[in-house]
Amino acid sequence: MSELLVIDRGGRTHRIDAKPDATLMEVLRASNLDIAAICGGMLSCGTCHVYLDLPVAGGPAEIGPAEPTEDEAALAAGLTHYAPGRSRIACQVPVAAIPALACISVAPEE
């Protein structure tokens, strides 16, 4: 189990235990954090948009999550609340790739 730090749309912080073989979208959806995830993980709808902030420089040396693919980056860039360098489509982020101390914020609804 990994513990994830998630901030919901209301600004509340949650600590969530997550199985490493799940995707971040699956974890957020199961935690009732108001993630629509309409396409269920097909990298299609953009309704599981999150911001992923890595530990600040000088923090523990962790391996960052796998870089977004070209398609994930392009889908995120088309969303209204896109934030360069922070936006991720949660269904494409394996829990195992999220570093400890990373902060996940559920992006505003489109």
Binding site: A36, I38, T80
Partner: protein
């Protein structure tokens, strides 16, 4: 005195022109409902829709071929394909369950993924402007014929590697496919005619497949010829025709409906035209609301894999459900003021116009981009877009699966 209401049914011919009163009544009274005339379970509630779309174990996409006559394996249909030299349709993208579904979807998702679509945008704008150039000095046009029907055909044709002058054959092939998806309502003759239209289209594709077999090119047909499934096998020509055919429907029947329904909403609302012209960044939100309000794919089918209870209704194993996306998209439990077009709606992409779950429309990003670019360019170059005459009654293609205007005569003034 009591009044007895007629039982609601999708067999009512009024459904083609205006399905919403029936959807509203069903959603309120029975969001899961056994239609006594067509014999299918009609699902109209958003909650039930979400459950079905995310549960392919219980709700299979493999169709009952009596309903989806396109996939009929009746001997007389197979004989037509054999005698006339076609490839009998088989389930690949739309009507499969995992793991087959994943296998086929993976073949095409890159070609219509977000990065690829971003690369196509400029060319799509160029094509729209070529079409606009043809009618901009006329002050009137059938927008459905001039833009909505032509643009997606051109875009999917370019992607596949087919010349633009073949649009008519491809369009009638796609048109016949969605007609064959209304299998409960067709005569035997209509079913035969629909399959013959497939064969005519397949023969055209066969010629181009042969060409790309000899000389590979940068297009989707060529890609399909050389692609390998995760099993290591290449696709048979029958499989290729089936994949092509699924993409063609998007290019020739559903995206035209999406663009046409959007242009109709625009033509009926001068204030909306002004708002979007003043702030084009709102056009993507308009596209989402248009698809929610007037879903181009009104619904598809699922088949129960076991007895299930949904919305208080027990549905036996092997029953066919017609899941009405357009009805769930107006469910007030999910969408506040559901009949209003709200450009600032929270969760504006959370609609079911592209379905949901693993079968979420693979071409959704292409369709979205085509609507957005068409609206952007029309608003940039035309003013005062209105129906002609203003009280023109739009007729819809009589199909249960898609909502597509038959014609959109409009007047406008030229801006640039």
């Amino acid at each position: 005195m009591t009044q007895t209401l007629e039982p609601a049914t999708l067999a009512n011919p009024d459904i083609y022109q205006n399905p919403y009163p029936t959807y509203d009544r069903l959603r309120a009274e029975a969001p899961v409902y056994l239609d006594p005339v067509i014999g299918l379970y009609v699902v109209t509630g958003a909650e039930e829709m979400k459950h079905i779309l995310n549960n392919h174990q219980d709700f299979s996409s493999v169709p009952d071929t009596r309903v989806m006559a396109f996939y009929s394996n009746a001997p007389e249909i197979l004989e037509i394909y054999e005698k006339e030299g076609g490839w009998a349709p088989m389930s690949t993208l739309v009507t499969t369950d995992p793991p087959e579904h994943r296998r086929y979807r993976a073949l095409v998702e890159k070609a219509v993924g977000a990065a690829s679509v971003r690369g196509l945008r400029e060319n799509v704008a160029h094509v729209v402007n070529e079409f606009i150039d043809e009618f901009i000095d006329d002050a009137k046009v059938d927008m459905q014929a001039a833009i909505s029907m032509r643009l997606p055909v051109a875009v999917i044709g370019d992607l596949l590697g087919m010349p633009r002058n073949l649009g008519g054959v491809l369009q009638s092939m796609a048109e016949a496919t969605t007609k064959l998806a209304d299998g409960t309502r067709l005569t035997q003759e209509e079913i035969f005619a629909g399959h013959r239209a497939q064969i005519r289209g397949q023969k055209v594709f066969h010629e181009y497949l042969e060409r790309y077999r000899q000389q590979p090119a940068e297009n989707l047909l060529s890609h399909l010829l050389y692609a390998r499934l995760d099993t290591g096998e290449s696709l048979s020509e029958r499989e290729i025709h089936s994949v092509i055919q699924a993409l063609l429907v998007g290019g020739n029947d559903t995206t035209p409906g999406a663009i046409g329904n959007s242009l109709l909403l625009l033509a009926r609302d001068p204030d909306l035209q002004s708002t979007l012209r003043a702030d084009p960044k709102l056009i993507p939100a308009f596209a989402e609301e248009s698809m929610r309000l007037e879903s181009p794919v009104q619904g598809l089918y699922r088949r129960t894999q076991r007895e299930v209870t949904l919305g208080g209704v027990t549905i036996p194993e092997n029953a066919t459900l017609t899941i009405r996306y357009a009805a769930a998209n107006r469910d007030e439990k999910v969408f506040e003021r559901p009949t209003e077009l709200d450009l600032n709606r929270k969760g504006i992409r959370n609609h079911f116009a592209f379905g949901g779950g693993i079968h979420y429309c693979v071409g959704n990003m292409l369709a979205r981009m085509e609507i957005i670019v068409a609206v952007e360019e029309l608003l940039r170059r035309l003013d005062h877009i209105a129906l002609d005459p203003p009280d023109f009654i739009v007729q819809y293609v009589p199909k249960l699966v898609v909502r597509n205007p038959e014609g959109l005569p409009m007047t406008f003034t030229k801006r640039i």
